[in-house]
């Protein structure tokens, strides 16, 4: 029996378009737009100026806070602009624009060759920080912060999130199949940093080939592969931890509160590359798919390439997309334009056709209870949507625990009245934050 959790939904996963497609390497773009903000936390400050020549892997923007992660040039060339550009998450953001010289030359000393086992925990943490690693599942939380739990929160296990529960996305799946050894190495490094002996890999059962290949690679190690029921949001940290360790992250808490750390597949590959080869995070695998894409693919893209270029590599659009999304259809961000750059958290680029999205006008709640059954956090989404629509917001916070919502979108997916429940919830949260700020 595959393990599961209470609630959740099971949308048609639509992974068939790309699940069997090997990762293609994108050709080098002529121009790269590299935003100085690619993670949760404080933005970076650019340390290059127009006219500078940069090499691949060179730092171009420095982190100035602890919760921040430096940004590197993803190819060699000339800085032609440091200016505001469209950003897939923040709307607009300062970006360093590099015009490629076509040589794709590494910065001096890169790539190098290092034995990770000879490095101590402090050195490993510093490497992870300097390499600009962030959570590549889409949340983009700086990895070194996650890997530095305070001493009063002892960690006893490490979980690799191979669930990839979002429909359409197959990037993690392909990486697990094609870069198995890199993942396991990254995982062992992470376990060394955290000082844990027990590791788990959670993979949804709809990827039997990945379960098998990772299991084979882990034979004889302290890493266990846990097949998970195919159900959204299996890959949300809280539900994943519940399923694998049977521990519930407390309301308002973090995985470290229950003695564990969760990392994404792509992040582990980046960790292995950073530690063994000194390569910073400058490229990533993304799934480019959706009903409006001519030929869906999994592609290794440079950070700074535009969505338009990636879509071009997939034969362009075969019909007018209704929505273009960064990430999966359940939690991804809708885009206004395809002229936005790929960032470290770009796990997918979806161009959804009208048939894919199944929108429809919002109607009043008929109290069918489907959202309650679907909510993995045990909330009452229909009530939250009504409170978000008319207030009072304090009731949503105090009586209906709106702050526990992980915004997975399961409630909206199942709602027959097509209510934008998550949107109302975000409004409740924002109003609450504003009120809290006003009090201070």
């Amino acid at each position: 029996m595959a393990k599961s959790f209470r609630g959740g939904v099971h949308p048609d996963d639509r992974k068939r378009y790309t699940a069997a497609k090997s990762i293609e390497v994108a050709p080098l773009p002529q121009k790269l737009i590299i935003p100085t903000r690619q993670h949760l936390g404080a933005p970076c400050a650019p340390i290059v100026k127009v006219g500078d020549l940069v090499k691949k892997g060179q730092v171009i923007a420095e982190a100035q806070a602890f919760v921040a992660s430096p940004i590197h040039a993803s190819t060699s060339g000339k800085v032609v602009e440091v200016a505001e550009y469209p950003h897939p998450v923040f709307g607009a953001c300062q970006a360093v624009v590099i015009e490629s010289d076509g040589k794709d030359e590494w910065a001096p000393g890169l790539p190098l060759s290092r034995d990770w086992q000879s490095l101590d925990v402090k050195e490993l943490k510093e490497i992870v920080r300097l390499a600009g690693l962030v959570g590549m599942g889409g949340a983009t939380f700086p990895t070194h912060v996650k890997m530095s739990p305070p001493p009063e929160k002892p960690i006893d296990s490490f979980i690799l999130n191979g669930a990839e529960c979002e429909p359409y996305l197959t990037a993690d799946h392909r990486v697990m199949l094609e870069q198995t050894e890199r993942i396991i190495t990254g995982m062992k490094i992470a376990m060394k940093i955290l000082g844990v002996s027990k590791g788990y890999v959670g993979i949804e059962k709809n990827k039997p080939d990945a379960i098998e290949i990772i299991r084979k690679a882990c034979t004889g190690s302290a890493i266990e592969v846990v097949p998970l029921k195919t159900k959204y949001p299996q890959g949300a940290e809280k539900t994943l931890i519940k399923v694998i360790l049977d521990r519930e992250v407390p309301s308002g808490g973090l995985p470290m509160d229950v003695g564990t750390v969760v990392q994404n597949v792509g992040t582990m590959v980046a960790m292995a590359d950073a530690v063994e080869k000194g390569i910073p995070l400058i490229e990533r695998v993304a799934t480019i798919t959706g009903g409006a894409i001519a030929e869906p693919k999994n592609i290794l893209l440079r950070v700074g390439a535009t969505f338009a270029q990636a879509i071009e590599l997939c034969g362009g659009f075969k019909e007018q997309p209704v929505k273009v999304i960064m990430g999966g259809p359940m939690m991804g961000m809708a885009q206004r334009t395809v002229e936005v750059p790929v960032i470290k958290g770009t796990s997918g680029i979806l161009a959804l056709s009208a048939a894919d999205v199944n929108m429809g006008d919002e109607q009043p709640c008929i109290r069918c209870g489907r959202c309650i059954e679907a909510c993995p956090m045990g909330l009452v989404p229909n009530m939250l949507s009504i409170l978000g629509e008319r207030g009072p917001f304090e009731v949503a916070v105090k009586e209906y625990n709106v702050l526990d919502c992980v915004e997975c979108g399961s409630c909206v997916y199942v709602c027959p009245a097509k209510r934008n429940i998550v949107q109302y919830i975000k409004l409740c949260k924002a109003q609450n934050a504003a009120q809290a700020a006003a009090k201070k």
Partner: protein, 339 residues
């Protein structure tokens, strides 16, 4: 971008996640419930003839028309296609006798849609089940006509005589008389299960209503706990307290006839189609179980102690009124609360 398809970047919809939805909709749910009721409705037309047809048709037409006129007047979007007004009409029609004067279905329908539904704000906002409010208004206004029914001599043939329903006979003349009307106990059960006896349209064919209810459970529109808990509460309490349902004049406890209590009156229609009306019942399964048990207990209380032979309608309406309280008290278990 390929040559044939010109991208219009001004056309992207930007909205919050999630970006895909399931293919359920309110109208799909409502029309499915209508479909589930259809066999029992058609059977009652077969049983009672043109009177049943005109009563049902009038209820449905007036409900839909009332909704249309109110929405037009309030300049709201017209939602008569969503099937909910149609459903109210169908349910109301099945709750009244087939051969009532024409003004009764009209009055009941206008009350159901105009007062019970739209003074509350329309679909989703009504506290009480509109069809049941419609029925209650008719019982209050024309009590005699609402408790007199065409007498069935044989299936498909209606004569001019009228008679009391099985529950009416039970109330007035007792259990022995009721059995006598049917011949023997087994014949009585069979007639009630198949629906070959007199009663309001939806109270007759238990088997078709149960099949329709099972279909709704199968489709996931009804939680099985509601009809099961409501019906078994009625059966068990009737068995324990007996009262009118006591077999052969016995007066002791634990001698009531649970089978008669299940098959008679509007219990099956109420348990599968009224106590399951999403809008007016608690939203969690736990709350629905409390609701169903309460409706069952009130049904027995009204049947045994009340002035009316039937209690399902008022039992459900009374429980509708406590639904908001149940919803406040019974919330799902919050993730991470145990820690």
């Amino acid at each position: 971008m390929s040559a044939e398809v010109k991208l219009d970047t001004g056309m992207f919809t930007v909205s919050a996640s999630p970006h895909i939805r399931c293919d359920e909709s309110i109208s799909k749910i409502m029309w499915t419930v209508n479909t589930a009721l259809a066999p029992a409705a058609l059977f009652s037309i077969y049983q009672f003839g043109i009177g049943a047809f005109s009563t049902l048709a009038l209820c449905i037409a007036v409900c839909v028309l009332t909704e249309y006129l109110i929405q037009k007047w309030q300049e709201k979007p017209i939602t008569i296609n969503d099937g909910s007004a149609f459903l109210t009409g169908l349910l109301l029609g099945m709750n009244i006798p087939p051969d009532v004067p024409w003004y009764m279905p009209i009055f009941g329908s206008v009350v159901a849609i105009g007062i019970a539904k739209h003074t509350m704000g329309g679909l989703g906002f009504n506290i009480f089940n509109p069809a049941l409010i419609g029925r209650a208004s008719l019982v209050a206004s024309w009590p005699v006509l609402m408790t007199t029914w065409p007498k069935m001599d044989m299936p498909g043939k209606v004569d001019a005589l009228t008679t009391a329903t099985p529950l009416g006979i039970l109330k007035m003349e007792g259990y022995a008389k009721l059995v006598e009307v049917f011949g023997d106990q087994a014949t009585m059960y069979k007639a009630m299960f198949l629906g070959t006896h007199g009663g309001s349209m939806g109270e007759t064919s238990a088997v078709l209503l149960i099949l329709g209810g099972f279909y709704l459970i199968y489709r996931g529109y009804v939680n099985w706990q509601i009809p099961v808990v409501m019906i078994s509460t009625v059966a068990v309490l009737t068995w324990i307290f007996g009262g009118l349902y006591n077999v052969s004049g016995s007066t002791g406890l634990l001698t009531g006839d649970p089978i008669l209590s299940i098959l008679s009156g509007g219990l099956i229609l109420g348990a599968f189609f009224m106590a399951t009306d999403m809008v007016t019942i608690p939203i969690t399964v736990k709350g629905q179980i409390i609701f169903a048990a309460g409706a069952g207990a009130l049904t027995v209380l009204i049947r045994l102690q009340g002035g009316y032979p039937e209690g399902v309608c008022y039992a459900i309406l009374l429980m509708n009124s406590v639904t908001p309280l149940i919803d406040r008290a019974i919330k799902p278990v919050r993730f991470g609360k145990t820690v």
